[in-house]
Amino acid sequence: MAETHGHEAHGHDAHGHHEEGWFVKYFWSTDHKMIAKQYLLTGMLLGAVGAYFAYVFRMQLAFPNKPVPGYGLVTGADYNALVTNHGAIMIFWVAMPVLIAAFGNYLIPLMVGCDDMVFPRLNRLSYQIFLVSAIVLGASFFVQGGAFGGAWTSYPPLSAKAEYSLTSLGPTLWLAAVALEFVAFLLGGINFVTTAMNSRAPGMKAFDIPMAVWMIVIASILFMCSVGPLVAGAVMLMFDQQIGTGFFDPDRGGDPVLWQHLFWFFGHPEVYVVLLPALGFVAEIITTFSRKRLFAYRTVLYTTIGTGVLSFFVWAHHQFIAGIDPRMANVFSVTTVLISIPIAEMTFVYIATLFGGSISFRVPMLWALAFIAEFLMGGVTGIFLGASGADIYFHDTYFVVAHFHYTFFPIAIIGTFAGLTYWFPKMFGRHMNEAVNKVHFWVTIICFNGIFLPLFVLGAAGDHRRIFDYGNFPELSQPWMQDLRVFATVSLIVMLVVQPLFLVNFFYSMFKGKKAEANPWKANTLEWQCPSPPPHGNFSPLPEVYRGPYEYSAEGRADDFWPQNSPT
């Protein structure tokens, strides 16, 4: 335990210069930048796993009951396990670790101008628990009966009884993995919030904090306040599975809808937990590449807080047909439609920021603009589903699947690419190849729409989302419907085929790319005012802050940017 109390005056050079073994450096580091990279690489690896699952089950849907190259014949149980774990992995082991943990760890100390998190060892523990959770999830594929296949929402009674889920250990390991992942992010979240509250550089007031930090902090608070009931629910469900209690078993006085409440009380704020960091990255990127102040900084902040509060009152829109009281459905319809107002406002604010700016279409900017456009479609289709009447028809169709992929893909994939391409020079001190990234961008975006636009049409035609072979449903296996499924699957394959372009570019540029200067984008926030990549301890000396983060194109200055730490 480190008992020495450091002072602002000393302690800095001491830990910049001593040599560490490779194990300590890469696996036992307490440096926030290294932990961020651990989270990032783990998240990218699991992203590849999730993408592979999507490939396998999309192949089954397009070409039913034919062996899938690289997998083999997909059975019904396989299909369910793949869909379940695709969803769980993409949300809990890709979006969360990359958007919140990796970027939060990397950016918060740099953006608020200090040398590390306030609890560096807790930070290391958080990653280690996260890694264990990923291993437990992986282990669930190798138990008798295979991995859990009861959908990522894990509704009982399907998830509560081995005779329904056909695997006795799969669901329990899955729940244990999710619970461990929650513990990791609770530790991480407490660290993020306290770091942003307490370790800001001298002079950095609340409204001088960059939007990305605000958004990650608000997201962490949302997570902390929403996940608790599901932690309790996970323990209850685990007892139902393994000990034989009847918390969710109606035969024994339990209530299966209770699980749905506990799950979605967390599950819906979770959408905003991952959305907000992505919105924060977009704010940083569009101000930098349009050389303009963020339009209405305070409004964005208050809107974000409002969205966060409102997000606790919309959860039951996932349960309109679960047998809840219709009067309650009305209330949740209203709150659901209400929450589109702050999000729409955020979109307008970003467009207003672009207005009249000198826009340069660098790769991060392309991703940021694509985020706004694609997320808009996710938001608009959400209004169809939020209206409880329309939802009776749309519920559990591919319309829902397409809708939430139009929200989660922009968040988890577009947001991540935006952040990675923007902060890559800072993280690794080198530039990625811009031309390759542009090709990657356009193919990914076009293919993404190619996958999910047909699914809107199929869903509106009544395509149910939990069917693994449409051959048994003549009205759903008309030739035009099957053609659309094939089109979506082919789009997915093309999209997956171009991803190695980015990966090769990423790893090649990490070592061989063009050297980047400290502030290649001429940005204001503090992370660009230290060397690229930042050394141990980040800044020397630690910066002081004199102004807000978005003072671009200020009148009467020679430069069109004005770093937060520049005294004049």
Partner: protein, 190 residues
């Protein structure tokens, strides 16, 4: 490891450790809130649970409430001693609090043994499932708190990290408070 400067700053004016403990408690409140909310809704829908609740030992619960509240008092006194820089006295008072935790757990184990012998187990019905789960989760918090308290007391005896006496005290009051909710809900409400 040299302590980063980040750990020594306090831009909000609240010491980092205290701030973090409050955030821990915030997340704990929603965990217990979700559990107790679920219990309450079930309880309202099942009036017959009152007959099961009648089998709990209210006097043992009341005694445990008294023990926990008293242990919170010694935690407060330990904080006061730590503020005065008296690490040894703070450590002794923390040990007294741990003693309270031990008494609480012993009473609890007698209660549970008796109930299980009568055939009321976690799988008996909904009430007993919630009874064992909620009290068990609380018991785990008691055990964790006592272990942390022993570590803090050992350091405090050497005069090290006296600010931690306050932090474990805040946590202990929370554990206490959860019991204040559990006792009427599981024992008294018939």
């Amino acid at each position: 490891m040299v302590r980063p400067i980040a750990t020594t700053r306090s831009a909000s004016g609240v010491p980092t450790g205290r701030l973090a403990v409050w955030w821990v408690l915030a997340s704990e409140i929603v965990i217990f809130g979700g559990l107790l909310g679920s219990y309450l809704l079930h309880r309202l829908g099942h009036p017959e649970w009152a007959t099961y609740a009648a089998h709990t030992n209210t006097w043992a619960g009341a005694f445990n409430t008294f023990v926990l509240l008293t242990s919170s008092l010694s935690a407060v006194l330990a904080h006061q001693a730590a503020e005065q820089g008296n690490g040894k006295k703070a450590a002794n008072l923390l040990l007294a609090t741990c003693g309270g935790a031990l008494v609480f757990l012993i009473v609890k184990s007698f209660e549970w043994t008796h109930e299980i012998q009568l055939g009321y187990t976690i799988t008996s019905n909904g009430f007993w499932a919630f009874y064992y789960l909620a009290a068990g989760l609380h018991g785990l918090h008691v055990i964790a708190g006592a272990i942390i308290m022993l570590i803090v007391a050992a350091d405090a005896r050497k005069g090290k990290d006296l600010q931690r006496v306050e932090l474990i005290g805040i946590y202990w009051h929370f554990v206490d408070l959860v019991w204040i909710f559990l006792f009427p809900l599981l024992y008294i409400a018939k």
